[in-house]
Subunit: 249 residues, 8 copies
């Protein structure tokens, strides 16, 4: 429902064409749809500028497929993260042109044809090769939300020249997502070089005292560089979503 | 040194008016100034759009005063956080018109007269009254960087109507900083209502299993709402700085 | 043994019909039954109003079946939680009309036909779809103990209107169980709206810094709303049991 | 505003005596009052059955006094916890008959003369003498909310007969609050003996690996006895409040 | 080598029958035997009163079998803990009369025929049925070291009468091992009733905030009862060994 | 009350000289004495062989003095640990010949004149000089309970010869208490050399990643040497008490 | 590129034979090679004295094989750690004479024929047999870097004579790597005996409160012996690499 | 005692000039000296190349002064760390030419006049100004052990050019100590640039989620750069000592 439609509805109510009860029911129906096990939040696109995104982990394939098809039927862009092959298969059965990015564990449908006009570039940087699945989740999310994307992978601080030699890419970007595991030092170095927002994404890459990403998370929260904000461990989606909002402001 | 000055320097070098060695030295000198105990990063204003900010904690009053006067002399805005009265007194002796916000522990000088034109509003929200010192640190930082500020204090989730009844303030903002201690739930609720970036700042407010802000930090990192990024516990400065960069993009 | 039977026993003792030794043995026998590996606490129904409940995890199917059949034979309601299919199969071989709720991992027998009269409604609320197995464990437990149940699933704080639009359900309830993972914010919002006891159940739903439910647990313990008490992570049974006692007081 | 007053207001609106705008403003004004640093939630008494309670820790004496006087003026019962002498002095200056329980760190005014009729007894049990300040905070809270109170102090599990010999007190209670530090074992034993709700309050009493109450908290969350729910470390207020709600259901 | 043999050796040396070099080599050879991957400590029986015990976890079956056969060949009692079936099969191939207690994961050979004379009873108590594997590891260890054993299983604090009704067993024991998971409260209750050493063994039984036994461990370390000492989580062997030393003093 | 007195009491009851009610009251009275804030457990000497010990921390001086005088009046040995000077002064006013060991924070009265006959030696070993206060708490406790004591201080593993050169002291002991902070390695070395029980006491000595004794505690729990049991951080009293029970068995 | 080649390049530039642009491109090309998913750091051999080492964990077999073949083609020594059989098979298909140390999970190619001349011995010591895989990773790394290696395995502190009797090996070494799990005490004892650098490697060997190596890590960081530095849990490679650098200084 | 003196002693023994008993006593006496509360390890200079160093924290001024004077009297270099003014005053009374570095909390006496010949440079680098006290502790330690020192302070990664512009200093060093708090990223960048050992020292500088240095410690342990080893938080002494041993090999 557009804002225009809403206005018309309210005017009808004023004129008495529809009752108070009717207007309330209409509005409520718009907002969410109850599937028993899930309350799909259709209102979200209006509030957040993007429809509900499905976190597949811990949902059954059937549950995911059911929610996905409700979103898809409204012509909204479909994004489902942390999806297994089983999740995809269940979705595929109901949405023929659904696409699966296996490496990143992402299902999409209704992808935008091209980036929205007048958007700056979102640059996605990783410290190592093992951080790629998380980086790709961020990249797909940002692209689904209409942003042009650039990538700079495997440029961790142990070989700092790999990053510095590509500094023009850093300067060109409007928002930067930095994905790193282990000691999580890369966002600090990047953050010290640019004057745009840097979103740090800790990954669970590492072993021993990396504690499945806690070390990288803590390091990023304590960055001595300014302008860095942090999302949850392995949360590529969250970084891509937030970067898109920052790119819009 | 402005970019224009740099260009002129490079052209002189091309014409042979100055040697390679001279240009390198000149450039290096610009970048930082060694005080023995500190290497002041004067280059930062160019790279980051704002000069070095002094974290006073763990520095002696003399160290802070020395660094502050170097920044001040260049006419740059001075911002020093987590400052005690002792820090301020030492600074005051060298910078007559320095100002101290005791409640927030912040020292400033060379404050901007008014917000920069064409900036959106940064809204600062707190869950409780005890979160104010951190919120004020964020507010002063954002204002020092030229942003118009609005505030909405003590609207935590235990009385959700206090927040909802002021929703037009939320909608008006371009970037929102949400400051909360205890269970840190407020950013999730705010994040679910708006389509602009939300920066969550956990505070050390609480007791027992709040663990000096760890609980709030973890809650914010795990927010089910999209578009939220997080900074360190009690890091009002970091939130204000990042919000300013987001407001600029 | 009912209290009436006890009284008769004591009077017999007074009259000398049975010896002190006999009465002591009789009483002890009632209390528990030793299976070598387990000491079944038959006395519990009298003390707690509900017989011993079997936590299947870490018990062998044979152990569970053995204990279950002792409880079942006395005609007491049988409740076994965290049960695998293997546990159920072993129980089924001895108790023909045992029932298995696979989704919730619960085995029951001797279920009550209908809720006890004069009981208020216990409402079970979840933040997300992934919290359902825990919520169902709570629901089955409360129902086994004779309580009428209502449910409100997938109404997390990222879309707060899903909760608020059903507020009359909240108001109707006598006790509310709120099940949530990730940042665990929902109990605070619910707790701020009602004047009945709210039992918060953290779940292990989430990833990264959710730490298998620790974040949700800590958030709930630090809730700024009053009247909230908390049980262990994923402890749907505990919540259902406690809610039933509260519904009885 | 009572519900009756609300009804009258709505009828006036229907009759057109007051405008929609007026009714909305009236309602909002009732709900909270903005002090700049705090948004006092006057609506809470209606929603929760008890007005806002002030957590003094981290608030300045002036802030506490300001909020307290707003609550007091409305004739509502005043309860302020974790209050220092400085807090009390500031309150005393504005509320002449305010009372300070120094041992428990609690300020009250407008105490109820006697327990509400038809209420069961709330029993407060402690493991040791050092747990008393927390127990007293719970007791005062419950009494302020109109409940009859009984106490059983220093009956920890190292001398289990001290508890067992007073079992009739346990049986008489309608809700039981058990306060314990160190290994936090007492709630399990109590919970195994009764069929009413048991609220466990971990305290920071102990040293070394008690970790300021974490050990007791974890022990209580893992209790093998059913019907136990837990509140934050040292949160006597929370236990007293929840117990009162349970006593009402 | 007995102490008598040592004396004779030293006298030979004094008489010059053997050289200093020879005596040193003899002594060294006795002490340990190098297998490349392991340095078997044959001297241990003399120092500790019991030969080296093999912790199988993380050793290959071949490594375990090799070490076991060296110990077995000297006629010493063989005890190998945390052994899988694969470990046992490898041992069985070299030691025909090796025995496997699968439930407890223990391999033995050269078991003592009967308890050593003049030893007191070691009583092993468990809180629940799930604690049995750890309790059995303790029992086998203590029996292998020549101690008479008694058992009292599944008598946790949620049904305290199960323990109290068997108090004469507690009083009869010379050393008591208490095995418990979850909140680990049982050792405190037992410790408050007896005047002999109590060894508390936390187990990884539980879920959620039991953190694989950490909660039980912490609770036991903070016991308010005196005379309790603690071993590592699930360390039945350690408890059995220590109990045996205590039974000897 | 001795066991003889108890028997006489029971016989009187059988003869009808005293009523059931009277015998029950008599028995209860013996057990504990209620001070309102504390329930002194006079029965403990009978159950545990030593009267209640007062942990002064978190108790007011008045509370400690009150409890102490009750114990003292019965002629029982008085032991109060973690006592400040203020605690001692309050005790001293009521018990003239109370003694204060300031270094160890221990108050005593009614000390035994000499060790009980037929007791073995309890040896107390420390890794460093900073561990002395804890070691002394253990020593005083063990001596109060009638044990002969030996000491071996500052023999940590960084200079292992300091320990090895005094090995005859180790061999002479019947029970050994090893007190160590930092990496807590000393109990493992001692435990590998002797065949008597070793009680490991972690201390909060150290800095940084010693985490106030957690590192030492964990190291001791994971000792590769057999026969070691552990008590809480800085719990010299617990070690001394347990050692005394082990010395008695 | 050798330093000689670099010099010639710079002289060509001076003579104008090649342009500035060309020299920059040449230099950049040397430094790293982009594979899209990885930026191979060929410059590393010059900076660090050893080419990039591949951490296989979390990389796909294809990614590892691709990177490995780039390193191998340049004739540089190839070292890949934490490699599974799948990784090895993929590498083997491209590098015929690659070698797999399955026990240590290491792939190598272009191994040095013999140790570099004038190098001291690196001694690798383990506490137990289970620490061998980590020790072997260290040994292979150090050997690949041209160092002579000695080993002393299974000499943990529970049988301290096993270590002391081989003290001449300790004295002969130039750098010592000590590998230990559980309580991690061995480095302290070794560190107290020698005057060369000791690198402590905690392993994840142990159970319960060993927390996958955290206990050993913490113990080593808190060692009371001087001259000890620590690497990550199970980081045999890191220890071997650092030892090699120390052996070179 | 020099090695020469030892040889002469052994020859005397062979000639029968002194008895076995005498030689053993002489040797033992050399090794350590018992002060009751401390066992001074005089043997350490021989084993470790440097005498015992006093950690003053948790020792009384009297204890420190007593141990210091024993070391000083033998003409050995005296080094006491974490010393307060009170410690220094007590030492000063007995050792007239003792020196106190208040900023670093270090007491020295018998300092070497100049660095030992043929030693490489130890470079000490800090991320910030607040890390100086720890860096100075390292510098004094290394200088006391005869090493030439260079310093590079306040060159953290937020302004990476401050470090890179001084790269010739990095290349000149033989061993590098990197001191950093907060996110602890600097050692990774330095470690990526050099081929000498890098010792990382985490400091407790930072706030919130820096957890008193834990974040920096974890980051350093997980460094993606090779050749880095780590010491305890704030352990400047340990780094200086280890660096000196590495400089010697």
């Amino acid at each position: 429902m557009t804002k225009e439609e809403l206005k018309q509805l309210l005017q009808k109510y004023k004129r008495g064409t529809i009752s108070e009860q009717q207007i309330i029911e209409k509005f409520s129906a718009l907002q969410f749809e109850s599937l028993g096990f899930a309350t799909v939040d259709h209102h979200r696109q209006w509030r957040k500028g993007f429809p509900e995104v499905i976190l597949c982990e811990r949902k059954t394939p059937q549950q995911v497929a059911e929610i996905a098809s409700r979103i898809y039927k409204r012509g909204q862009p479909l994004l489902a993260t942390r999806a297994s092959v089983a999740h995809f298969n269940a979705v595929k059965r109901r949405i023929r042109n659904a696409h699966y990015y296996e490496f990143a564990g992402v299902i999409t449908a209704n992808e935008p044809k091209s980036p929205s006009p007048n958007r700056g570039v979102i640059l996605i940087v990783t410290a190592g090769t093992s951080d790629l699945p998380v980086a790709e989740e961020a990249a797909i999310t940002a692209r689904m939300m209409g942003n042009p994307i650039e990538k700079m992978y495997d440029v961790g601080v142990a070989g700092i020249h790999r990053l510095l030699s590509q500094s023009e890419k850093l300067i060109r970007a409007n928002v930067i997502i930095v994905v790193a595991g282990m000691e999580g030092a890369l966002p600090s170095v990047v953050g010290g070089l640019v004057d745009v927002p840097v979103i740090a994404v800790p990954t669970s890459v590492g072993y021993g005292a990396s504690f499945q990403g806690i070390t990288a998370l803590l390091a990023m929260l304590n960055s001595c560089a300014s302008g860095i904000t942090v999302v949850n461990i392995d949360n590529g989606f969250g970084a891509g979503f937030a970067a898109s909002l920052m790119n819009r402001t």
